[in-house]
Symmetry: D2
Subunit: 340 residues, 4 copies
């Protein structure tokens, strides 16, 4: 049994990790931290855990080095790199759910976020998107778990950019459930400020744009325009991507291309032509569903859907852990989509 | 491996059974029926099952006798008894999710619903509430799975009536998510007719009132008044029960009484005094959470919460199946509550 | 034109007052205050007011005495009485939406809330429920606008207690939309902590219980038990009241009693027997809809529905203002219910 | 007082017309029709109208010619033209909320919908988008009220195409609340099939695409790709439009262009640069809010928001009626946006 610690366990990604790892056959959660709720039982913070997990939360700020084989950092950016700095020993695996280790280019990180306080660890890290970096994840001890928007965006467009099929810029219109904003008491996340409404935000200035851009630029020199929107629902991201191909492709051929690209991927489902993803059909699962429509003038629409807390955060983190531990990648991730 | 058939598989209880049984270690689903969608794959009806279960639906109206070891009937009342009549052979287990075999008293059934077409099977059946009838469930081949409102109501009040503590009548104020109305295209279940609103319905005339009443009357001769309400959410029932005790009880003593009554029950959680259930904390699980407040004049408030599709329907049906098959009652029912 | 000030204009009751008063023919809003947003335009706080009202917010803490003919205090309890103390001059009308002037009995107020800092003003105030205190409202300059739960509860039960028909205690099961919790960044009001869930809270200890209790005790010496619940929706309160009559009453006779009691009330609608209120049917209006069911053993169920922000707060405040100004009570309150 | 008839009054557009027209100073509703609910009071169909409007519904299929000065046709396409055929007399004003008179090109209509049964009336009709066709609306007796998606799309992009600024194709990503699907008992509109999910549908084949396309082509020969999505909320459409300009424009200059284009429009609000529309800020009002972001490579994002039942349907219909009757265009349309 590997020992696992969740640093910052009282947010939605922390809770989701607990729910996923509780039934993992090779894992024991032996550390849950929180500065805000230290001394309380986790089941007092999340009463749904009554009788399931009653461990007491210890302060995040204590020294936890060497206690665990795997650490999940569920902290805000900035705080995560401080924590990584303290915990990193080249032996235990650190999976950071913040943005702090998603950028191999430190200047780009600093331009987008803030001064990097653990620069020397960046070369030791890998961008934890298994579909693109599985081999490298196996060898690294520090994994920068991708953002939720980037996961859905990159997986959706990857087969096209990998094959350098795109001509000109693309628009990424992405819509996220409210849990993407975290479990903080913010005015903009109140029920009355979200329900029965829909809005875009941070057009052209969202921090996930550079994260998507840098991955795309590894294949094609095209510019993306990323437009996030807030959905009046709990979980799920649907991303609709617009652009033009150098040469028109039939929808059926695109289907073959996507199937081929992801043929060994356990969590990617390519939908039949003319059917499209619905966030409800991946909800509570680690799936990424992808559908598309190709037009005869080369215009294309690609649609991808994930559960932002699973494939977009904690599920992908567990997938990364499984890969890094060299066990079956699907362990504890076989939960089916759930609705209504 | 026991062979399982789901008769009427395209509603919410059918889908929930599929999701629960998919991972059951001793079960294989080998029959899914639907008249409406016959010939289609189940994954066409529920695209979330893409790549998970692609079986073809066969007509409900065909003869399915002898094909399975266990049949779940997810049909409307009236239709269920016809199906039971055809399938019953005294060997295979039939679990009926309709009301047709919930009443040992046929006259009461007929007064409440319609003419009973399989009267001779009624003595062979049992009211499938494991917490009250576990021993009998083990011996019967025809199980009348309780209604969702009755499950939450009876489990909430049972410790008080069993000990004959109640004086006078009680009021049961129950609130259900929309999935309780089923997956039929009805005006009253439309998003625009449900969301951003809340209403009672069928006050004093709901069909679940006699089902609750008959169980309570086995212990005390008191009258209930049942008032259902429709909640603008997908799943969950919260039931708030009001009445008066013969002798006042302290909340702490009530806590002991409830703990004692349900001490061997794997799916009942008695909440600490002064904490109360939330449907979110049982959502997607087979738990029934119970809390209460006792006043010094003998007035009491009991609150219970279940997921109407799990403990209120398909989860309880699987629990009954496990008991009837004499395997661990919790098999396939260890799914944790999920939120947000 | 009377000059109106809204003290604390950036919450939901403040916004609702603005929307109601904007079209009032005899009123001009000439003062909007906020400490948090001082210096900003109200349309920056509420962008829906773009081009409609662009006034700048001035600090709540400044001295605003003598500036207006009518002041609405949309402040937390405790703060309101401080503000009333500063503004009261026996000439301008002060309508307080907090609890500070709802209790004629100061001891009861202090037991329920906090030390009263403007005791000498209490005798000058009136409980602003027009259906019960219209005549007194005409003569007073300080009006304690009732709470949302009390408005729906008292209006629902009043015809029965006024005629001393009730035997024994009653249970008030009340369910409120989230806007009742105000526009503060609180964890418990987050979309992800409210949607897809339903729960009771503060059973037996909610501050609105004494407010309801004191009004009922003016007619009958009975005890109420008040149980509030939080609904996953924006606005609306539905209250279901349970109890027993001294003598059974037919539903039709109760209908006559209710119709007679409220025959001159412009905002109360008594529903036909066997039809019940839905919060959607009063949403955005000042109506209170009431329905009921009487049983032959004397048990009764009364159901009332209001929009908590209109009849439960700002609409009732405008109604009180109209009465106090001796103009048509319905002025600016003729907005129809709206759905979907 | 003009006499108004609503043909097909029991859907959401019919209800919204009733709510808007009830307070219109120059109008009297003297005809409400429904085949489904004929003989019932409108307040039985919509209990929110209790005591407000209790008129009895007469059959739609009767002959209503000559009874009214204005008819609103709230019927499905196909049925509307039959009704128009019967009612048209060149004197009374007919405003059709279906698609039957939105296309001046009958072939395009027939290709998109069905065989046209009132071809001779098409030349007498006008596309009822006041911002583009106000003068013509004044002179016509048959007005084809635009679709909800087209209203938001055309108003959003009009200033750019009118000035022939666009280079290449554009993508229109549009998201609608559920009321856009009407008040029919359809599986896809059920609460449990809509809430907590988000999906695109009919990509490239939605019937509103040609309606938008034909208007755009009056100014520029560019192709649009229209991608509708279904939002888990009642009302509101947000449309996000993507494309490229021939010459880059600064956001500030675009702001001037939009302000100038719509300078006399009472219902269009151009938002300040770097602020964006939210459907909540136009909800229940006839406003169309427009915001945008221009990039230095000529890429642009335009965002528009309307209430699909008001500016997207019944409000625009009343606006058209006011214009056609030569009264103040804003009459009965001054209702402010409402939230929460």
């Amino acid at each position: 049994m590997w020992k696992v610690g969740i640093i910052g366990a009282t947010g939605y990604t922390g809770l989701t990790l607990i729910l996923l790892l509780k039934t993992h056959p090779y894992i024991k959660i032996n550390l849950l931290t929180s500065n805000t709720y230290k001394g309380k039982k986790i089941s007092e913070v999340f009463p749904l855990l009554n009788g399931i997990m009653d461990e007491v939360l210890v302060p995040t700020d204590e020294n936890h080095k060497g206690k665990c084989d795997v650490y999940f950092l569920c902290l805000p950016h900035g705080k995560s790199m401080e924590s990584a700095e303290k915990l990193y020993d080249g032996r235990s695996i650190i999976i950071d759910l913040s943005a702090d280790f998603r950028f191999e280019n430190i200047e780009l990180y600093e331009k987008t976020y803030t001064k990097h306080l653990a620069r020397h660890l960046v070369p030791a890290s890998v961008f934890g998107l298994p579909e693109l970096y599985r081999d490298e994840i196996k060898t690294k001890k520090l994994i920068g778990n991708p953002g939720c928007y980037p996961t859905s965006s990159i997986l959706g467009i990857y087969p096209l950019v990998k094959n350098r099929l795109i001509d000109g810029n693309i628009f990424i219109d992405s819509k996220s459930g409210v849990s993407g904003a975290g479990r903080e008491a913010k005015l903009g996340s109140l029920f009355c400020e979200v329900s029965e409404g829909f809005r875009p935000y941070n057009i052209g200035v969202h921090r996930h744009e550079p994260e998507i851009q840098k991955e795309i630029n590894k294949y094609q020199d095209i510019k993306i325009r990323f437009v996030p929107h807030l959905l009046p629902m709990n979980r799920g991201i649907l991303t609709t991507i617009y652009g033009k191909l150098k040469e028109p492709l039939k929808t059926e051929n695109a289907y073959e291309l996507y199937k081929e690209t992801y043929k060994d991927e356990p969590f990617i489902r390519i939908l039949n032509p003319n059917t499209y993803p619905d966030t409800r059909f991946v909800r509570f699962s680690n799936y990424c569903d992808i559908g598309f429509k190709m037009f005869d003038d080369g215009s294309f629409v690609v649609v991808s859907a994930i559960d932002n807390l699973i494939k977009g955060a904690s599920g992908q983190a567990v997938q990364n852990m499984n890969i890094a531990l060299d066990i079956d990648e699907k362990t504890s991730l076989t939960g089916l989509p759930q609705y209504p």
